[in-house]
């Protein structure tokens, strides 16, 4: 089975690009920050420097692990779903579910290993730059030398490979299980995330305006809320769609398609909501923080500067990951639908009508994602602003939010339309036979 996995990889290298990219990015981020542990562990590093380095490594390291798992899981789920017919064929030719599982997990492990090894070089450069930032801000002594050691290497490769293997195992189990998947576990997860998120957001009020950690509870709370929203959003979306009278044949089509594909939509909505929420929440909270410091008239402390840098790094990481996941899910979903587009055209749809339906679908998706993402983001921003500056709303206008929405809309609608346009280029009869 492992040989089969390797052969299948060699035959279709393009198919695993997204998985490779998320493994690479994830490993690079983990190794960059974990190498701070290595650096802190060198002989002769003073206690203050060591502590700053370890804190950064632990905070972003934890984030990174979660993200790698999410991103690799999302790309692998899409990949496995695309190959359902191939796996069905294997099953019919006598492969046991365990054998198919070993093939997919084996493939994922190979991809993750390659991604992690490729990430070593960039991670070394990134780690050196990060140490430079800490030294410039005075958090770490100038005398500390950079080191890329066993902690960075082991955790980078280990976490990436483990995350890939686990995600592949779950994805293939979901795909090969014949029975209808249980809805209960998903709902439990959704309510759990929403409840935890609400608790985290509310706990903001337990902090004082000057607490250094004030930003953490609303930020984590908002992320948890957005995960919960992403889990319940397909169901809410179908309910709304039942009452949404979109005009024209393309609108009619789009609504029907979205309703049937609700389960697949969560693969698109998850990164979209996460992106909107994290970007909006973090950027506004940082803006509020900056305004509050300015208002106090004191010069920005080193700690505050450091927090800002870390915040922006985290936003950057999440935004890049969410974009990769979003583009991958949309691209895969739309390519996968080439046969469906062909069938629509054979039933009498012009290419323009097919594209219009895709456009309506992606606009509905964008609106849904932005709505829930903004809701979760606001749940974090409002308590933070209230505690930090005694007014509920940030003093900034909607500019940041509009920018975030523009990026979300551009990525969602752009990717869908470009891929769909490519898909309707082929003659309809050919598209149908190829996909069958």
């Amino acid at each position: 089975m492992f040989a089969l996995a390797l052969r299948s990889l060699r035959k279709r290298p393009a198919r695993c690009t997204a998985t490779l990219l998320s493994a690479f990015l994830g490993a690079a981020i983990i190794m960059t920050f974990q190498s701070m542990h290595d650096t802190a562990g060198r002989p002769g590093v003073d206690r203050v420097s060591a502590e700053s380095l370890s804190t950064a490594a632990s905070v972003v390291g934890g984030y990174g692990t979660l993200l790698v798992f999410f991103a690799v899981a999302s790309t692998l789920t899409v990949n496995v779903r695309q190959r359902r017919s191939e796996m069905e064929l294997l099953r019919c030719s006598g492969a046991t579910p365990a054998q198919i599982g070993r093939m997919v997990v084996g493939e994922a492990v190979v991809i993750a290993l390659v991604g992690a090894v490729l990430a070593i070089g960039p991670a070394m450069l990134g780690g050196r730059a990060l140490l430079g930032v800490f030294q410039d801000s005075g958090q770490v002594a100038r005398s500390v030398d950079y080191s890329f050691g066993p902690v960075a290497l082991m955790s980078g490769i280990g976490i990436t490979v483990l995350a890939a293997a686990g995600a592949a195992f779950l994805a293939v189990r979901r795909a090969t299980r014949r029975s209808v998947p249980r809805r209960g576990a998903r709902r439990l997860l959704a309510y759990g995330a929403l409840a935890l998120g609400a608790v985290a957001v509310c706990s903001t009020f337990a902090f004082s305006a000057r607490d250094a950690a004030l930003m953490a509870p609303p930020a984590y709370g908002a992320i948890l809320l957005s995960v919960g929203c992403a889990l319940v959003s397909p169901k809410l979306l179908t309910t709304v769609l039942d009452r949404l009278p979109l005009p024209g044949a393309s609108g009619w089509f789009a609504v029907r398609n979205l309703r049937r594909r609700a389960a697949e939509l969560s693969a698109v909505l998850m990164p979209l909501i996460l992106f909107t929420c994290v970007a909006t929440a973090t950027l506004y909270m940082q803006a509020v923080e900056n305004d509050a410091i300015d208002a106090s008239g004191l010069p920005k402390s080193v700690d505050a500067k450091n927090l800002e840098t870390l915040n922006l790094v985290v936003v950057g990481i999440i935004v890049v990951f969410a974009c990769v996941m979003l583009v991958n899910s949309l691209y895969a979903a739309t390519t996968y639908r080439a046969g469906e587009f062909g069938r629509q055209r054979l039933a009498g749809a012009t290419p323009g009508q097919v594209l219009a339906a895709v456009g309506v679908e992606s606009v509905v998706l964008t609106v849904t994602g932005v709505f829930f993402g903004t809701l979760a983001g606001l749940a974090g921003i409002l308590p933070f602003t209230l505690v930090r500056s005694d007014t509920p709303l940030p003093g900034r206008g909607p500019g940041i939010w509009l920018g975030v929405v523009a990026v979300a809309a551009l990525v969602t609608v752009g990717t869908s339309l470009l891929t769909a346009r490519h898909a309707v280029r082929a003659p309809a009869v050919e598209a149908v036979t190829l996909a069958a």
């Binding site: 024209g248 044949a249 393309s250 009619w252 089509f253 029907r256 398609n257 049937r260 594909r261 469906e340 062909g342 069938r343 629509q344 055209r345 054979l346 039933a347 009498g348 749809a349 012009t350 290419p351 323009g352 009508q353 219009a356 003659p427 309809a428 009869v429 149908v432 036979t433 069958a436």
Partner: protein, 260 residues
């Protein structure tokens, strides 16, 4: 984008439902080029049921797709219900097809996300035409699926899916219905149902049906059989019987061998 496809002053169906004049089509270029159709000229009267037969690779599917406007012929003229199919974009061809042509495929080609009823009214929706619910129910009842309106395609058997596809092809009241091996994936009994439906479309509703098949029994439901070999017409048989068709097919093989 939703042009009204219904003709306002309908002059009624033309006497000749389909006319092909020297239609040629080849695939590929250079040494690897394949001539799929080699100057086919053919006329089919309104209200007839014609079967197209011939060896695999003889160009039957290509002929049907060119006649139905799903492929563009390299040369020649295609006229459906008196209107010539002209060049232009795919959108224009689609609008040409909508009111004149229905197509039934071996692989059904139903939309998996739409129910039986939604699949059936799809061509009307796309053409921006009014949907008469009673009429849709009537059409689906006629193909024996009046009680499955809300089912999804993957909840149906192959024969039932093909009957949905036929209902979908009938609902726009097209002049010509093309069917490419509509019974190719069905058992004898389901195949019979499908063939009876196609024959009824001709006898009862006055449609013109052109059907590709490999099965002499299926061909015997037609009024006449047109034989194709190497992209050229190779004879015709009126009022075909199963035995006559089988015999002609066997000899068709001989002719092709002799020519080589």
């Amino acid at each position: 984008m939703f042009h009204r496809a219904r003709r306002t002053n309908d002059p009624g169906p033309a006497a000749e439902a389909l006319r092909l004049v020297k239609v040629g089509k080849s695939y590929g270029t250079g040494a690897g080029a394949v001539t799929a159709l080699d100057g086919v000229t053919l006329g089919l009267a309104r209200g007839t049921f014609t079967a197209v037969m011939g060896p695999s690779g003889s160009g039957k599917s290509t002929l049907l797709q060119c006649a139905a406007g799903l492929e563009r012929p390299d040369s020649g003229i295609v006229r459906v219900d008196g209107a010539e199919m002209t060049g232009g974009g795919e959108a224009e061809l689609t609008r040409f097809r909508r009111s004149r042509i229905g197509f039934v495929f071996q692989q059904y080609n139903l939309l998996p996300t739409l129910t039986v009823a939604q699949n059936t009214i799809l061509p009307l929706k796309l053409a921006g035409r009014r949907v008469d619910r009673a009429r849709v129910r009537e059409v689906l009842t006629a193909v024996g699926l009046g009680d499955r309106l809300g089912h999804l395609p993957d909840q149906l058997s192959g024969g039932q899916r093909q009957r949905v596809a036929i209902a979908r092809a009938l609902v726009t009241e097209p002049r010509v219905i093309f069917a490419d091996e509509p019974t190719g994936a069905l058992d004898t009994r389901s195949a019979r149902d499908v063939l009876v439906l196609l024959r009824e479309a001709v006898r009862v509703h006055g449609r013109t049906v052109v059907m590709v098949t490999h099965d002499p029994v299926a061909a015997s439901y037609a009024d006449s059989v047109v034989f194709l070999a190497d992209g050229r017409l190779a004879g015709e048989l009126h009022a075909p019987t199963v035995d006559a068709v089988a015999e002609r097919l066997a000899h068709l093989g001989d002719d092709v061998l002799l020519e080589v």
